[in-house]
Amino acid sequence: MTIYSVMDQQDTTAEAPLNEEAVAAKPADGPLAEDLADDQLTPLDPAYKTVIRIGTAIFCVPFLVAGLVVEATSILPAAVIIAPLTLIAILLIFRLPTRRYLARGYAMGLDRLRIVRGIWFRADTVVPFGRVQHIDVNQGPLERFFDIATLTLHTAGSMGASVRLPGLKHEVALDMREEIRSHIKRETI
């Protein structure tokens, strides 16, 4: 499977020692998914940026229209409403999706998936395949047009019971689903 940039070693033997020296002394034939630095993560499909942009643009339209209507009534001095609105819309549509795209990433390990996201509020989640209950691959209309998909892993835990990974190439998402599913089967039979 070439799509996985990182493979970690099978780590099913013993409890990992807790003191740092012992962890550092482990054989370094490929780091575990959770030990990768943020810039070593697999990035999402660039089409994800476009999908967010279009979504945000649709969201912004009513506000801009409302702003234009207020301008048309000329109660306030010219451009007092529409200028800041346009500026915010430009930031939301052009700047933010790139930053969000850059902040996201994932790492597929041999027995676990790590998902990182968030600019201000960073969240870094690892789900071991052995705890996955079922897997969804979803595509909205926009996502279908750009051939990307959202992979969702459901676990039995109540905190973060389902973990979403949007912006994967559809084919990649399906491959990942098969990979995770086959892993679950292998473990239980």
Binding site: T12, A16, E34, F121, R122, P128, T155, G157, M159, T188
Partner: protein, 525 residues
């Protein structure tokens, strides 16, 4: 349509009705429902004299009649069936509902007796499936024998089902109990509360909820009585009368009066607590049976719940700031069949730590040993929290000082001081530790609450950081725990990663299906 559904099942058992007396009980409930409308009708028409009485009576009879008729029809149309693989229930007068619950989905079977059914010797049998929202089966009411027989039957069926191979995608396909030692029912008493203990517990369960109830009643009284309870003038008169009277007693009298009302409040609060505790926890017994923990309690409503040991995800040892000073704690189980807060898994609501330890061990956990390496959280986290909360309060104080007077500004400043003190204690109390198999988290401000989770029974690990945390180098660790939540706030980032690494290694070593398999019964050995 529904007949076909019923017939398609295994014809091992005929469709059964609930006990005929249950229709009677529902009729009694109808009587209770009728009281209020009857009174309302009577008051609405009281000017018309005898007519009012007749109308009220007629309305009452109509309500009871319709209720009883409905209850009878519902009883007629409600059937249940125990098949080889599942329980089926059919109900509904106009639209029929046929529900089938496979045995392997049944998490707990509980018997419940409220006051009136108890007088008739009836029980409510509930089959909990752990599906979160109301998808359970409730049979109300069955005779006590039938309830017990059903519970036995379901357990046997579940044991039989355990021989069928597990399906990997089966979340709750766990089975209750263990095949061996089924009939003998050996059990050991783990914990019980006598009257003396209940009394102490009641005192600590001090509650002023009774005043809320009284206020509610007063609002009702408002409807019926020509007494304007919310009329300010009335109360002003009463108050001025009273204060005049109190003023007459002099300063000494006022002080005595104040002390008297405080004592009164304490008395009322304690009596309320005693009432609640005696009603809920009367004759509390926790036993260990081969099938799991069995808890029985209740004075008027007696409940009997069995919790399989292997379904316990984590344990919680809780306490309060006052009872902690006297060494009292409560033990709770976080169970797989628990949607947050709904199911009650108190196993020892009021016990000394020495009484709790054996129960914790019986559940497969190890109580916190003194050799554990407890680690405190990051001091910066507490500092930042205090600065943030205190800062907001200081802003409030400045505004208050400008708008009102500097003296009033002392109030938010004092609150800020209390918060700072609480955070100082919080820093000392909040801690965590790991051993080979468990993760222990201690939380609280003026008293420590402890949560112990089994490392392999966690489902995911998440590290999150807000904008401040990113700059200051600490993080929150959230752990996926079925039926509950577990998180540690304000960990040093390196420690968060270290914990995650260790926990993930434990999780990856065992698959989900392995950890929820019923273990060998401890007592059979």
């Amino acid at each position: 349509m529904s007949e076909q559904v019923a017939n398609s099942g295994q014809p091992s058992n005929a469709a059964l009705h609930t006990d005929p007396k249950s229709f009677l009980i529902q009729g009694l409930a109808g009587l209770r429902n009728a009281i209020f409308p009857v009174v309302a009708v009577f008051f609405a028409m009281r000017d018309t004299g005898t007519l009012a009485l007749f109308t009220a009576l007629a309305a009452g009879i109509a309500i009871v009649g319709i209720g009883a008729g409905g209850a009878y029809l519902r009883w007629r149309k409600f059937t249940y069936e125990i098949n080889v693989e599942d329980i089926r229930v059919e109900s509904g007068i106009i639209s029929r509902i046929a529900r089938s619950v496979p045995f392997e989905r049944i998490q707990d079977v509980s018997l419940e007796q409220t006051l009136i059914p108890r007088l008739f010797g009836l029980v409510t049998v509930k089959f909990e499936t752990g599906s979160g929202g109301g998808e359970d089966i409730t049979l109300a009411y069955l005779s006590e024998d039938e309830g017990e027989r059903l519970r036995e039957l379901v357990r046997e069926q579940c044991d039989g089902a355990s021989l069928i191979a597990h399906r990997p995608d089966d979340v709750e396909s766990e089975v209750v109990g263990a095949p061996a030692a089924k009939r003998a029912e050996p059990s050991t008493l783990l914990f019980a509360m006598d009257r003396r203990r209940l009394f102490t517990f009641g005192i600590f369960e001090f509650s002023l909820a009774v005043f809320a109830v009284l206020a509610g009643l007063a609002q009702y009284a408002d409807w019926f009585v020509d007494f304007e309870i919310w009329d300010p003038d009335l109360w002003r008169d009463v108050a001025s009368e009273q204060s005049g009277w109190i003023a007459g007693l002099g300063q000494m009298g006022q002080i005595i009066g104040a002390i008297g009302s405080v004592i009164g409040l304490i008395l009322v609060g304690s009596v309320t607590g005693l009432f609640r505790v005696f009603l809920r926890d009367w004759n509390f017994r926790l036993e260990e049976t081969p099938r799991g923990f069995r808890r029985r309690r209740g004075l008027l409503t007696r409940t009997d719940v069995v919790m399989p040991v292997h379904r316990v995800q984590a344990i919680q040892v809780k306490t309060g700031w006052l009872r902690y000073r006297f060494g009292w704690r409560a033990l709770k189980f976080v169970s797989l069949a628990q949607d947050l807060g709904a199911a009650n898994h108190d196993v020892a609501p009021f016990a000394k730590i020495e009484e709790i330890k054996p129960i914790v061990r019986a559940a497969g956990f190890e109580p916190a040993s003194p050799t554990l390496d407890w680690r405190l959280t990051e001091p910066r986290y507490w500092l930042d929290t205090t600065i943030l909360e205190g800062g907001i309060l200081l802003l409030v104080a400045i505004v208050v000082a400008i708008v009102f007077s500097p003296w009033f500004a002392l109030i938010p400043v004092a609150i800020a001081g209390v918060i700072a003190l609480a955070n100082w204690y919080g820093y000392k109390v909040h801690a965590h530790a790991v051993d080979e198999e468990q993760l222990l988290v201690r939380k609280g401000y003026f008293s420590p609450d402890l949560q112990i989770a089994s490392r392999v029974k966690l489902h995911s690990v998440n590290i999150s950081q807000g904008p401040i945390a990113q700059r200051r180098g600490y993080a929150n660790l959230h752990l996926g725990l079925a039926g509950g939540t577990m998180s540690i706030s304000g960990l040093p980032l390196a420690r968060a990663h270290e914990l995650r690494r260790a926990i993930l290694a434990s999780i990856a070593a065992k698959d989900f299906s392995e950890i929820y398999r019923a273990p060998e019964p401890r007592l059979a050995a």
